[in-house]
């Protein structure tokens, strides 16, 4: 029976891809209800079927490959799943609307914003063009965009990601829908933008009284947004309940594990060192890397008849020290120059000016042979472990390669070393002959780590090593990295945008913004007592997986007064841009 408050009632929904032998069930017997005015979060890791289930509601599944094999979804007495296309269409974009993960690609590139904002209104609300445009302008203001007239005439490529997501929200809310399905609406956005968008969604929800189905993998976002939560795993519902209950007392093993692996900012506030995972961790030693005054500008390709444009500044006077056995985290949003810095240290990219010393040797001055020798001491692991493994070389071959290059071992000895490394990073002996595609994401990152370890490096630059992984896998990989550091004394230059992860891993933290380090210091100092306004904004924006926490107002960054000058020491070892 349907509750009076129940807006949508999903029963036994089953969705499969392919047919016959290739049939692959994506959603199996999913049931949930959505009440008026509530936000229901559907959480799960990749492949849990959370997106597919909501696409099915709107009839947006790819017609030739996916099929809804069973179940009902009752909305105002009608079953969405069996509705004729025409009726489905009249609901879509009017009473049920949707926003997507990728704001960059979700708007039609060749059409002006104005058309894209108004066409659904004209279609569903019988508005005239002028009425629809008025409504669109109103919505643009509501979602926090300035100069609505101008925006209407713009094309998507002229707007930033955050602005596009605001447009998407304006588009979805303009029709005053009963249900808004938001599919990972902030995943592709920087954390500060995410915070603003989440704020906006909360505000609009209050104003419009819309029910929201929020699809996300981020427990922090869930805690901040949801009234109730449905946890999914491998196409099935694991658990359902009010948000506080799920976080406080998860009943299912899976939910417990999921919550346990979510890093929570603040849990390490009390200690200065990273989490200890071995009995006798190696201590931080001498300075290993010293970078000074690194500058890099990516030149715009100049055109014959036009004056050369100023390039993009990727690094501006970047400098830091990194000691043996220490982790320095480089944090910042996309485009802050943190990856550039990591690559510059390994000389995978040439800087314009500056000095990089590794154990006293100036890396920038090395010749080809010297550089190759130097690369024994420094290895890198990348964000996408799959892409960083050559698909045509076996796992064993990949792990062996750096040792072969540096002529460290050969023949039987090499084979033994490879096997040893596989076991060391938690892989098995019979994995050696396999190819990268036969591994899971976490295993691949282990493979990358094994490959890096082979030459006995002292420094590993880890560029977002876990951001492509599910949280449960992320926790395992981070553990491995900590264990290796504490037993081998590795230094990590740890590049990440995730403050919670950084808190677990880092001894020291450098916050980057627009190519510049705005704050650097001991992790405790920077995270617990941020001095730079940008650091504070960044930390305030991090969603905390604690539904009980009351979020304060977001600090607004005043760009005019934002200190961007040289670093000055505010406390011993704690430097802040002035």
């Amino acid at each position: 029976m349907m509750d009076r408050d129940t807006l949508l009632d999903v029963r036994d929904m089953t969705v499969a891809f392919g047919k016959g032998r290739n049939r692959n069930v994506a959603v199996r017997g999913l049931s949930y209800t959505l009440k008026k005015g509530e936000t229901l979060a559907i959480v799960g890791e990749s492949g849990s079927g959370k997106s597919v289930s909501s696409m099915a509601l709107l009839g947006l599944l790819p017609p030739n490959s996916a099929s809804i094999e069973g179940g009902t979804a009752t909305f105002h007495g009608r079953d969405l799943l069996s509705l004729p296309e025409k009726d489905q269409r009249s609901l879509r974009g009017d009473r049920i609307t949707m926003i997507f993960q990728e704001p960059m690609t979700s708007l039609t590139p060749v059409l002006r914003i104005g058309i894209q904002l108004t066409e659904a209104l004209i279609e569903h609300k019988n508005m005239t063009k002028a009425e629809a445009e008025a409504r669109a302008r109103e919505m643009l203001v509501l979602v926090g965009l300035d100069r609505p007239e101008h925006r209407m005439r713009q094309f998507p490529h002229e707007l930033s990601g955050g602005m596009r997501q605001r447009i998407m929200i304006a588009m979805a809310m303009a029709a005053d829908p009963e249900i808004l399905i938001a599919d990972e609406p902030t995943t592709a956005l920087d954390v500060t933008v995410q915070a603003q968008i989440l704020d906006l969604m909360r505000t609009l929800k209050r104003e419009f009284g819309t029910s929201i189905i929020l699809i996300t993998h981020d427990m922090g976002v869930v805690a901040e947004m949801a009234d109730r939560v449905v946890v999914m795993n491998r196409g099935e519902k694991v658990e359902e309940g009010p948000v506080a209950e799920i976080f406080a007392a998860p009943r299912q093993e899976y939910t417990k594990r999921l919550l346990a692996s979510v890093p929570r900012l603040g849990t390490m506030a009390g200690t200065s060192a990273p989490r200890t995972v071995v009995a006798e961790p190696r201590q931080v030693g001498e300075v290993l890397v010293r970078a000074e005054g690194l500058n890099k500008t990516f030149a715009e390709r100049s055109w014959l008849f036009a004056p050369a444009k100023p390039g993009t500044v990727a690094m501006k006077d970047v400098g830091f020290d990194l000691r043996a056995g220490e982790t320095l985290a480089l944090v910042g949003e996309s485009g802050s120059g943190k990856s550039t810095t990591g690559r510059a240290v390994l000389r995978l990219m040439e800087v314009d000016t500056g000095r990089i010393e590794i154990k006293g040797t100036n890396v920038r001055g090395l010749g080809v042979a010297g550089l190759r020798r130097a690369r024994r001491q420094m290895q890198m692991i990348f964000q996408d472990p799959f892409a960083s493994l050559n698909p045509r070389i076996s796992a064993g071959g990949l792990v062996a390669e750096p040792m072969v290059i540096h002529r460290l071992a050969s023949g039987r000895e090499l084979e033994d070393r490879v096997e040893e490394l596989f076991l060391r990073v938690g892989l098995e002996r019979d994995h050696i002959r396999r190819y990268p595609h036969e591994f899971s994401g976490g295993q691949r990152q282990r493979l990358c780590i094994a490959r890096a370890l082979g030459v006995g490096p002292e420094l590993i630059v880890a560029d977002e090593p876990t951001s492509a992984l599910d949280v449960s896998v992320q926790a395992q990989v981070l553990d491995l990295m900590l264990e290796l550091q504490q037993s081998l004394g590795l230094a990590y230059l740890f590049i990440s945008h995730d403050m919670a992860v950084v808190e677990q891993m880092a001894h020291r933290v450098a916050v980057m913004r627009k190519g510049q380090i705005v704050e650097i210091g001991a992790r405790q100092a920077v995270l617990n007592d941020p001095q730079h306004p940008y650091t504070r904004a960044l930390l305030a924006a991090v969603p905390v997986p604690d539904p009980g926490r009351v979020r304060g107002a977001l600090p607004t960054l005043d760009l005019a007064t934002l200190p961007t000058g040289p670093l000055a020491e505010v406390a011993p070892g704690h430097m802040v841009a002035q």
Partner: protein, 295 residues
């Protein structure tokens, strides 16, 4: 002349194809099977031509002149009384030779140029690729004509001309694949691991470029066969008495109303061969990149 649908094979899927077996993947698609069958048949016909052909392809008055298809001459006879079927069977040898030589020339040279340009980067790449682009925009037939104007006409020269004419295409494809591969993290990972030029090119780039080029090369055979037949049709390629299909077509023109079989069968042979290599190329692409299958 050339189909420019997405050519890049995706190595990750190629690797998954290896797991299930490349040939099993190839044979699981109708395109692959038909393509393989046609090309296989062609190979057999070419190799066993002396056994299969009922008559000497060059012997005049093997039958009466301009005889329509009959039991003695399944595809009729030409204006010299030569057996058309036998000529077509022997023509398969020439056709495969054309494909192998033309594609051989363009593939090796194009691969080399594209690899060098893509790996070198900087001004060398710019100059090289700009030049390749310009040559590419000349179109293959004009380059081939220019080559023939220089070397003189003849089937061997036509094969070489077609080979040369297609180099820009292969260079472009190689270059674009190299650029894609070079920007993948695994390449940077190899650089970071300290790999030298040789290792980067031969162990990392080349194996990832080759699958795409196998696809392009297979499709390229069909382009080359078409182009050579075209040149022979125009009288710039094969010379008498070579039983080259395009040339046979051109000699059928004056007799098109009196002896249409002289025009129909060689044309079918060309179309069939080209179809075979096109399907095989599509099949190989699908087998290397299962995502294409849905396309």
């Amino acid at each position: 002349m050339t189909d420019t649908v997405t050519l890049a094979a995706h190595p990750e899927d190629a690797a998954s194809a290896r797991k299930t077996g490349f040939f099993r993947a190839l044979l699981s698609s109708p395109t692959g099977i038909i393509g393989l069958a046609i090309v296989g048949l062609l190979l057999i016909v070419a190799l066993a031509a002396p056994l299969l052909a009922p008559h000497d392809p060059l012997r005049m008055a093997a039958g009466p002149r301009l005889q329509p298809p009959s039991w003695q001459h399944w595809m009729g006879t030409d204006d010299f009384g030569r057996d058309v079927l036998s000529r077509i069977i022997y023509g398969a040898q020439l056709t495969l030779q054309i494909g192998a030589i033309a594609v051989g020339i363009s593939l090796t040279s194009g691969l080399f140029l594209g690899l060098v340009a893509g790996y070198a980067s900087g001004w060398a790449e710019k100059v090289l690729m700009r030049l390749v682009d310009v040559l590419f925009s000349f179109t293959e037939i004009v380059i081939a004509l220019a080559c023939l104007a220089i070397f003189g006409v003849g089937l061997t020269n036509a094969m070489i001309a077609i080979g040369i004419a297609s180099i820009p295409f292969y260079a472009r494809v190689t270059h674009s694949v190299v650029l894609v591969e070079k920007n993948k993290p695994y390449f940077e990972a190899a650089v970071a691991a300290g790999a030298g030029h040789g290792r980067l090119i031969f162990r990392h780039l080349l194996p990832n470029v080759v699958p795409t080029l196998i696809v392009v090369g297979t499709l390229g055979v069909s382009t080359a066969v078409l182009a050579a037949a075209g040149l022979s049709f125009l009288g710039l390629g094969a010379q008498p008495p070579q039983p080259e299909w395009g040339f046979m077509l051109s000699s059928s023109r004056d007799l098109i109303s009196r002896a249409p079989w002289m025009m129909i069968f060689p044309g079918l042979a060309i179309a069939f061969t080209v179809l075979g290599f096109n399907l095989l190329g599509d099949g190989v692409r699908e087998a290397l990149d299962p995502r294409q299958r849905q396309r």
